[in-house]
């Protein structure tokens, strides 16, 4: 089981917290059908540990209904960023929990319908009345039934009621953008009903999550807070010897490392399986290991029981360099921040060194026992995101392609040859229901190659499209190594004699391939076809967008006041290293 501090530790630590000193803050409302004592304090302390000042509002005991339904309540005055609503089976089912079988099957079905309607109404009201996210729990499935072994033979008995409620509340949540379901039942399964629920504490204070388990529960909630604040981790950096396999390949040899077959070897295989599944959903894997590259690579490529192979690693620093230098190298190669990296190493000395030198990196306290590695990884709350997109799933593949591109770049003598050999294809698409979410996402998060850094929510983009005089488009980029997906966005305001570029951006993933020239040439051509005489652009400098500072002037735009203007009577130079198609 994951190591946790006692509840009293959190209660004590909460007393001396100074929430004001944290730059990042989050406002959290806690609502529940039972006592939430201790949860608030634990949450505040756990947030402070990740540098977040947590401001809380705890609704009165079992007051969630009134608080949510009344638009004037203190809950809404508090203006939460996120609200947790905790429900427990006993409170929600009430009398029917104690005596499920005095009611008929029909009555039990009606009861669940009624409760579903009530709870759905509460969730909908909250989502409508506030801009906040809501996390609601499902109901823990009770293990006891007065029907005993006959319970599972009973049509729509207590067990079926809870399962039905949970399934349908979850379906309903899926239809709401800002509501999430916390699997409270899963939490109780993980730690055990007879541990989480302590009768003595229940009798004393209506406590339905016993003291020992409150910190574990709050640990799960912090996962949501990390996701909301974008503090989630994107990359796992791994040592090799005694981390991905047992033993030291340089000493024990290819045949000597322990991986699969033996009980000890199975522990490493299990750990790798969990890592692989994370990689498949978009977490980047990298290696940071002191080893002879030939021996290590041979094990990765050829060992029959390796689960992770070369193609699963987006960066491999296998050398005798310093581990900290390697970490920085990986961050640079992948173009991600050190603060989005996690480091796994069996050696406590290495861990301490990385932790002290690079406090931004999350260095995991691995167990001494490799059989716990898989659990250590599964216990982490650092990889959650509010939405998993197609781009996330393909991310690992994209980094692999990027590595192949870099290898080609090294083998060609000049940039022009390299770009020509890439066989770049730019597919221009207009904004539509399929592309709008991605267009919005790119305007929200692109900082480097972004001329104006205007941020647009999905709704804003839809409004622009509706206006009619805006051309909102995006570019999907492919080359011989693979498809980078939609990675460019442009928004052009179309006037009678002049078009102006409202937004022009490229994801950092495809920078340096002169793709911007292809997209801009396409816009200019379209303008010319439309009988327009000039295209106007602006560069709005920010701390981060230096990479596109000279883009307009290099292309041939002429300075005019604060803007840059292209006369369409001038010839448009069309780059010859790429092909531009229109969907």
């Amino acid at each position: 089981m994951r190591h946790e501090q006692k509840l009293s530790h959190y209660i004590n630590a909460a007393r001396s917290l100074n929430i004001e000193k944290y730059e990042k803050k989050i406002r959290v409302a806690l609502l529940g059908s039972f006592t939430l004592n201790g949860m608030e304090e634990t949450l505040k302390v756990k947030c402070s540990e990740i540098g977040v000042g947590c401001i809380t509002y705890v609704a009165g005991y079992n007051q969630y209904n009134q608080e949510i339904l009344n638009a004037q309540s203190d809950l809404y005055k508090f203006r939460p960023d996120i609200a947790f609503l905790l429900l427990d089976t006993r409170s929600v089912l009430g009398k029917i929990y104690d005596s499920p079988y005095t009611a008929s099957e029909v009555e039990r079905r009606e009861f669940v319908e009624k409760k579903l309607a009530e709870v759905s109404h509460i969730i909908r009201s909250y989502v409508e009345k506030s801009d906040s996210k809501m996390v609601i729990t499902n109901l823990p499935l009770p293990s006891y039934s007065p029907y005993g072994i006959y319970e599972t033979k009973t049509v729509y008995g207590l067990r079926d009621m809870v399962i039905d409620f949970n399934t349908r509340i979850n379906s309903m949540i899926k239809t709401l953008e800002s509501a999430y379901l916390y699997d409270f039942d899963g939490f109780v399964r993980r730690y055990g009903e007879s541990n989480v629920f302590d009768f003595r504490q229940f009798f004393i204070g209506d406590i339905k999550v016993s003291f020992e388990y409150i910190p574990h529960l709050v640990h799960d909630w912090v996962g949501y807070i990390k996701a909301v604040l974008g503090l989630n981790k994107k990359c796992i950096v791994l040592d090799l010897d005694n981390t991905l396999w047992g033993g030291i390949v340089g000493e024990d040899g290819f045949e000597g490392i322990r991986l699969g077959d033996t009980p000890e070897g199975k522990a490493f295989v299990e750990f790798q399986k969990i890592l692989l599944a994370l990689q498949q959903r978009g977490i980047i894997l990298a290696i940071n290991s002191k080893n002879n590259i030939d021996e290590a690579i041979r094990a990765i490529r050829e060992h029959p029981n390796m689960v992770l192979r070369e193609e699963n690693f987006s960066s491999m620093q296998i050398n005798w360099n310093d581990k900290v230098a390697n970490m920085k190298e990986i961050a640079g190669e992948l173009n991600i921040g050190l603060d989005s990296m996690v480091f796994f190493d069996d050696d406590p000395v290495n861990r301490e060194y990385v932790r002290l030198s690079l406090p931004q990196v999350l260095t995991v306290d691995l167990s001494d026992d490799a059989s716990e590695y898989a659990q250590n990884l599964m216990d982490m709350n650092d990889f959650h995101v509010l939405k998993i997109t197609e781009e996330d799933v393909d991310r690992g593949k994209m980094y692999l392609e990027e590595r192949q591109r870099k290898e080609l770049e090294k083998s060609t003598t000049n940039l022009e040859d390299f770009l020509k050999q890439l066989d770049i294809r730019v597919l221009i698409k207009n904004a539509n229901e399929f592309t709008i979410p991605r267009i919005s996402q790119l305007t929200l998060k692109t900082n480097q190659f972004n001329l104006t850094t205007k941020r647009y929510q999905e709704e804003d983009i839809r409004d622009l499209v509706k206006k009619g005089d805006y051309w909102v488009g995006c570019a999907q980029i492919e080359d011989k190594f693979g498809n980078s997906g939609i990675t460019g966005v442009f928004i052009v305001k179309k006037g009678k004699s002049e078009w102006s570029i409202d937004t022009f951006l490229l994801s950092c993933r495809i920078m340096g391939r002169k793709i911007e020239d292809g997209i801009l040439a396409h816009i200019l051509q379209k303008a010319k076809e439309g009988g327009v005489s000039t295209v106007r652009g602006t560069f709005v400098p920010t701390k981060k967008n230096k990479p596109c500072e000279n883009f307009l002037s290099d292309f041939g735009f002429k300075k005019e006041g604060d803007d840059w203007v292209y006369r369409l009577s001038d010839p448009i130079k069309i780059p010859d290293h790429l092909r531009c198609d229109i969907e």
């Binding site: 009293s8 006592t35 004592n37 003595r200 204070g205 406590i207 020992e212």
Partner: protein, 76 residues
């Protein structure tokens, strides 16, 4: 045992250990409410590896009650 007990009480209620006596309890510790008493109990039970029953826990009004309970469970 007494030292350890005082130390836990001091920690849970956030009061200097020098101010803890057998008579410390609901009458003179402001934060001594039912919730904090159970946080305290949870600590004591884990530290001393004992488990009090519900009746025993209901008797706890001050530190000396805890000391007696621990003695009853064989702690000295």
């Amino acid at each position: 045992m007494t030292d350890k007990l005082y130390e836990i009480v001091s920690r849970v209620f956030n009061i200097p250990i020098s101010q803890i006596t057998d008579e410390s309890g609901q009458e003179n510790i402001e934060s001594w409410d039912s919730f904090n008493v159970y946080v305290l109990l949870d600590e004591i039970e884990t530290t001393f590896d004992v488990k009090f029953n519900l009746d025993e826990t209901m008797e706890i009004k001050k530190v000396v009650d805890l000391r007696k309970l621990l003695q009853k469970h064989g702690m000295n």
